[in-house]
């Protein structure tokens, strides 16, 4: 289905000329006339099913498809969700490039996009506590709130894992700083996960969890080993 969107008077001329390139079978226009209703349902599906890690790829593909039709998608495109998708997948490079490509007028008129970018920026500069401030410092709209909450929980867990692997002892203030919680809540969180508190010097002793790794063998491995030996012999 070929559809063109026309947003301004200059572009009406383009529409007239483009009409000459009528594709085979004629052009089908949307019943609403000139304004195109962009089909954002794949993104909404991902949000509804909470597949937040897939949001970035869905957004990328849809954006390229719309761009290839010459459609001016920027005004109605959900940049905030797109940016947050990249941040969620920890793909800060793509988030940066996307931010650079957003037109200035859109950045100025939609503060939510700037707020999402603030989170990305703090992650990029490794301002660990700044991420929490950025998350809490904005009144998120309804469609993005669930995703922000999910990201926040994920981030706290990741921070905790990082502390687990990097520290053997760490001060309570720093734990609170990295986890974005008050000192008491941070102590509770740490004690819940098996850490010990040395209250004399306000240090927490880290206990590394036992990691269980899979090591089972199965018969297909034998087949593969046979193939390798055969290959090496010949």
């Amino acid at each position: 289905m070929e559809e063109l969107s026309v947003h301004s008077r200059e572009e009406k001329n383009v529409e007239e000329i483009a009409r000459r390139f009528v594709p085979y079978g004629g052009r089908k226009k949307s019943p609403l006339g000139f304004y195109l209703a962009m089909d954002l349902s794949p993104i909404q599906k991902d949000l509804a099913s909470k597949c937040y890690s897939a949001v970035a790829d869905t957004c990328d593909d849809l954006m390229l498809k719309l761009a290839s039709r010459g459609i001016r998608y920027q005004d109605e495109w959900p940049f905030a969700i797109h940016l947050l998708g990249h941040v969620f997948a920890n793909d800060l490079n793509s988030a940066r490039f996307l931010w650079k490509s957003i037109p200035l007028e859109i950045k100025e008129s939609r503060p939510e996009i700037v707020a999402v970018w603030k989170i990305g920026q703090c992650l990029w500069t490794r301002d660990y506590a700044g991420v929490y401030d950025a998350i809490r410092g904005f009144d998120w709209s309804a469609e993005i709130t669930a995703m922000v909450v999910a990201f926040s929980e994920n981030y706290t867990k990741k921070m905790f894992q990082m502390l687990n692997s990097a520290y053997s002892t760490i001060s309570v203030t720093d734990v609170a700083h990295f986890l974005g919680m008050s000192e008491d809540r941070a102590i509770d969180y740490a004690l819940q996960h098996g850490w010990k508190l040395d209250s004399s010097c306000k240090m927490v002793i880290v206990k590394k969890p036992k990691t269980v790794t899979e090591r089972k063998l199965d018969p297909s491995k034998l087949q593969r080993l046979t193939e390798y030996v055969f290959h090496l012999e010949h």
Partner: protein, 462 residues
């Protein structure tokens, strides 16, 4: 105009059998000049032909139309029709006239760039590459155009789907240079430095009789990425062309100086070197990479400490790595642990860092899968190399070169013949001019990864 109408009627009357298509193909080739003379009036005819069924006819008309310069107002309409054509065209018919298809795609890319909307070209170009390729291992002329569009539109991730294919067939060497250089740039943008190093390495060591600008730029980035990743720049491998060996360093002097300064390990000296050459780095658009090189010096200095010490205080780390305070050292070590560049634990109570060995035991399921996958790839590569071996040894030009020296071999030397055979084959590839090799060995696989394995076999059998 009449001839065009007659032609269009022919095209529409086609019923898809292969004789009719080849008949139509010869008819179209004969009518090329007629089409071009009516280039500006072809537009209404385009709407009468269905591109999915009458691909070949549509392609010839489109190519004739685009060969003349397109007016500004018609550009967006032209772009849309090319996009629709690429999406719906039939692959078999495209492959009958690949040069025309490539020509249309190139003009499409030029128009998209001129109009300042590179993003519009990405999805169609990707589809065009997939339709033009006979297999995912073939490098087409469109690969480098696609990567260029991804770079301009800043959609770096989109380039990965094409970059991750292993290439074994190269038709034109120039495509290879551009593909490797742009591929390197995309990988650098996504911080995949190992892959970037591979791409740039291929660009620098590809066969060339005279130095070209692409190889020079690739070498500049190669030096910077090697420093970021490994802290040193490796020397040229044996299969590098002599043109590159002799001349590359003289064209990239500021970067060579930077590498030498890096090797001495003092960040103040490195910063001074960057300051002196700042304009050159700026004009090559490499200043961002140079800054990354600077910050990587701290990392490599800290990494070197792990080879000497089991535990070290944060204050000592700060002193050795020329950082400002123990707190800054702690943050740096934390970042390195997070990125997996170092294995250590920080003890804030005593202000000490203990360094550990890599805890990977290579026993887990995931790791075994990874190893299996790598072995499978190597087996495929090895099979391809054997078939390359056989092809080369049957090639007439190669045999005539060998034949001149046949009197040097007698029965006593029979055992060593395969080794000398391989050595000659290797020299043959190295000394042959790019066009010469392509002309004489059209089936030959030219990828440098094959050349690396080739090189290794020579040394193995020695």
């Amino acid at each position: 105009m009449e001839s065009v109408e007659v032609l269009v009627a022919h095209i529409q009357g086609l019923f898809r059998s292969s004789d009719e298509v080849s008949q139509l193909h010869s008819l179209l080739k004969q009518s090329e000049d007629a089409l071009r003379s009516h280039a500006d009036r072809l537009v209404p005819f385009l709407s009468q032909i269905d591109p999915s069924i009458h691909t070949l006819g549509y392609l010839f008309l489109l190519e004739a139309y685009s060969s003349e310069s397109i007016s500004r107002e018609e550009t967006s309409g032209f772009l849309l029709s090319v996009v629709e054509f690429i999406n719906s065209c039939s692959t078999e018919q495209i492959r009958l006239a690949p040069e025309k298809f490539i020509s249309v795609c190139k003009i499409f890319k030029d128009q998209v760039m001129q109009l300042g909307v590179p993003m519009q070209g990405i999805a169609p170009m990707r589809m065009a590459i997939r339709k033009l390729q006979t297999s995912t291992e073939q490098l087409t002329t469109l690969h480098s155009d696609y990567l260029l569009l991804c770079l301009l539109a800043k959609c770096y991730k989109a380039g990965l789907s094409i970059l991750d294919d292993d290439i074994f067939e190269v038709d034109h060497l120039r495509d290879h240079f551009l593909y490797c250089y742009y591929g390197g740039m995309i990988n650098i943008g996504l911080k995949r430095f190992e892959k970037a190093l591979e791409c740039l390495h291929n660009a620098v060591t590809a066969p060339m009789t005279t130095l070209n600008a692409i190889a020079v730029e690739a070498y500049k980035k190669y030096i910077l990425v090697s420093l970021i990743l490994n802290g040193q720049v490796p020397s040229f491998p044996k299969y590098t062309s002599s043109a590159a060996l002799r001349n590359l360093k003289s064209y990239t002097q500021p970067y060579v100086d930077l590498a030498n300064s890096y090797a001495r390990g003092k960040s103040s000296e490195l910063e001074a070197c960057v300051q002196t050459n700042q304009e050159k780095f700026q004009s090559d658009s490499n200043l961002g990479l140079v800054k990354q090189v600077l910050s990587s010096l701290y990392k490599h200095n800290i990494q070197r400490l792990t080879q000497t010490y089991l535990t070290l205080s944060l204050q000592d780390i700060a002193n050795v790595a020329q950082l400002n305070s123990p707190k800054e050292a702690e943050m740096r070590v934390l970042q390195m642990i997070q990125d997996g560049e170092i294995f250590a634990t920080i003890n804030q109570k005593d202000g000490m860092v203990s360094f550990h060995e890599d805890p990977e035991q290579y026993k887990t399921c995931g790791m075994t899968e990874h190893i299996d996958f790598s072995i499978q790839r190597l087996m495929v590569l090895s099979k391809k190399l054997s078939s390359l071996d056989e092809h080369l040894s049957c090639d007439p030009t190669y045999l005539s070169k060998i034949g001149k020296e046949r009197q040097r071999f007698d029965f006593d030397e029979f055992d060593s013949v395969p080794h000398k055979f391989m050595q000659r084959a290797y020299l043959f590839i190295r000394k042959g001019s790019p066009n010469g090799v392509v002309r004489h060995c059209p089936q030959t696989i030219l990828s440098s990864s094959i050349m690396i394995v080739l090189e290794k076999r020579v040394t193995m059998r020695r």
